[in-house]
């Protein structure tokens, strides 16, 4: 058996994935956009762009700013909404043979319930990632995402409705104690914690003297957040016994390895995809050649 046939499949909750390398939510759209560019079906899976009950237009431009150490974005959850997602986007995943986790968020318990109920009878997706951590919108789940009781409640509402799918709760790094929120998600029945979403940051335009973004604060991603994300993942891995999916600043195979060392069972590649679309595939290949780098079980390390 050649090294490249090594089994690096990973089970997260009730669902097995062929390997532990994913594309992060918001990075690869709904799955079709990168279809001709990279062989997404070789990945563990993709996490699709966060959707909401109603379509959202997102924030006014500019929405992206490059920095020497990464990028700031203020997309504002532009998305097609639940109905169009189920009607137009979900069926594509099957054609593409891509394993997908669907990212969702909402503003109220009722909305979360309605979205979860819409997905409950469906097939063609492997699980749901609850985005309780987007910094770029008012009134969605970020503020709630800091409240352990709320996180537990929402998690259990969704998990109840999709017991056979995997449920990941994606947390914000913009917190003093991520362990608290992670434990709440675990108590609510999450199958994994996805850590982390973007770090809040900003930038100014020296020619106008004004903030770049209308909302001032934006989501910082890319290599500059790697050390921060690694520490948050380590903290979460030492706070819960469910698996942790590591996200933040991965831009090399080595960076991905560090997440496994920090206690993650899987990783998601984000911003680096834009410069280096082959990176996720290279990480899969490296893991197949060195299956000992991967981690087969979650929980504290």
């Amino acid at each position: 058996m050649s090294a490249s046939n090594n089994d690096i499949s990973v089970k997260i909750g009730p669902v097995a994935f062929k390997n532990p390398v994913f594309l992060a939510s918001g990075i690869c759209g709904y799955g079709e956009e990168y279809a001709s560019i990279i062989p997404q079906k070789k990945l563990g899976g993709i996490v699709t762009k966060t959707i909401t009950l109603e379509p959202r237009a997102g924030n006014p431009p500019p929405r992206i700013r490059e920095l020497p150490t990464g990028a700031l974005n203020s997309i504002g959850l532009e998305n097609v909404g639940l109905d169009a997602y189920i009607r137009e986007k979900l069926p594509l995943l099957k054609d593409l043979e891509v394993d997908a986790v669907v990212s969702i968020t909402a503003e109220t318990e009722d909305e979360f319930t309605r979205i979860a109920e819409a997905f409950a009878p469906l097939e063609g997706y492997r699980g749901i990632e609850l985005n309780l951590s987007c910094p770029n919108v008012e009134g969605t789940a970020l503020d709630h995402g800091r409240d352990p009781a709320y996180v537990e409640k929402i998690t259990s509402i969704v998990k109840e409705r999709i017991p056979k799918k995997t449920l990941w709760v994606k947390i914000t790094p913009n917190l003093a104690d991520v362990g608290l929120v992670a434990r709440a998600a675990e108590a609510g029945g999450a199958d994994a914690i996805s850590a982390v979403n973007t770090v809040i940051g900003t930038d100014f335009d020296l020619s106008t003297g004004k903030p770049i973004f209308a909302r001032v604060g934006a989501g910082y991603s890319g290599p500059g957040i790697l050390p921060i994300a690694l520490f948050k993942v380590w903290e979460v891995a030492h706070s819960v016994s469910i698996p942790v999916v590591g996200i933040g600043g991965i831009s090399s195979v080595e960076d991905a390895r560090k997440f496994f060392l920090a206690g993650a069972i899987a990783v998601q590649v984000g911003t680096a995809l834009y410069s280096d679309p082959e990176l996720p595939i290279r990480i899969v290949e490296a893991l197949r050649a060195h299956p000992e780098w991967a981690r087969r079980e979650g929980g504290s390390t």
Partner: protein
């Protein structure tokens, strides 16, 4: 207006090499790349998303319109702006480049109709390529004067006359300082030309103020106008929703969508000018 969208091939990632970086003036250069195997014939208006090769700081890719493409090479016309374009300029023959492409919507085909194409600065790239593309791939004799290119630069240096066959091809040329051709900018020359020779449609690409002036001309003349826009990009394939511009909102039954955005990378970069909300275009 009756038009045909040119069919756009699926984009892919390609690795290629620099054939030559040809300096045209202090700020402009032509980057000639060897055309990698499997690279489809690009439509005029589409662009490449070029990786900036460096082991140093983080770089997003940089978008550049295709200036020319033949069996052997792909050529870009690049103006040096910041660090990314500087690094690209410094690449020598034989060095490796990595790009996604061809990307984006093209300028439409308008069979039998007369087009005035107005280009400023590096905005020349897609409109120059349109002319080549049409003359190579279609039967040009049907309408020999159907495509008139107007190009403006600051002075004769910006017209690259020794390197690019603009004058030979019958393009109309303008310089701000009058050192060659018409004295004024490309939009002013277009206005004069439009009075002399009415057309069915305007194409434009260049600095935003010039594009706005051309949009006004189109409205006054009551003719169609397609424009190639720019914006900062991350993915360049429509995935990240970074590069949007505001477009006139179309009613969406039952949905409270106050604004509508389209992506420059995937819905554009070529837009029908009358859907663009000019006042709210972001500074690229």
């Amino acid at each position: 207006m009756n038009f045909t969208r040119i069919e756009i091939p699926k984009p892919a990632r390609f690795v290629s090499t620099v054939v030559e970086n040809h300096q045209l003036s202090s700020r402009y250069f032509l980057m000639v790349l060897s055309k990698p195997e499997g690279f489809p014939d690009p439509a005029p208006g589409s662009f490449l998303h070029m990786a900036v090769p460096t082991s140093g700081r983080f770089f997003l890719r940089r978008p550049f319109s295709i200036f020319d493409c033949n069996g052997e090479t792909i050529t870009l016309l690049i103006v040096e702006k910041g660090e990314g374009t500087r690094i690209l300029r410094e690449l020598g023959a034989g060095e490796t480049v990595d790009f996604l492409g061809p990307l984006g919507e093209a300028f439409p085909l308008l069979p039998g109709q007369r087009i005035l194409a107005v280009a400023g600065g590096v905005g020349l790239a897609p409109l120059y390529y349109y002319q080549k593309f049409v003359s190579r791939t279609l039967d040009k004799r049907v309408c020999p004067e159907c495509y008139q290119l107007v190009y403006g630069g600051r002075s004769e240096e910006d017209l690259f006359l020794s390197a690019i066959d603009l004058a030979d091809e019958g393009s109309l040329l303008a310089t701000d300082d009058g050192s060659y051709g018409f004295r004024g900018n490309a939009a002013q020359l277009a206005e004069v030309e439009l009075e002399r020779n009415p057309v069915d449609a305007l194409f434009s690409c260049g600095p935003t103020p010039m594009l706005k002036a051309v949009a006004d001309l189109a409205v006054q003349a009551g003719i169609a106008h397609w424009v190639s826009l720019e914006n900062r990009m991350a993915c360049a394939v429509g995935a990240c929703r970074s590069c949007v511009i505001p477009v006139s909102a179309k009613e969406q039954a039952g949905k409270d969508v106050k604004e509508r955005y389209k992506t420059v990378c995937h819905d554009g970069p070529v837009f029908n000018a009358n859907e663009v909300i000019w006042e709210r275009l972001p500074e690229p």
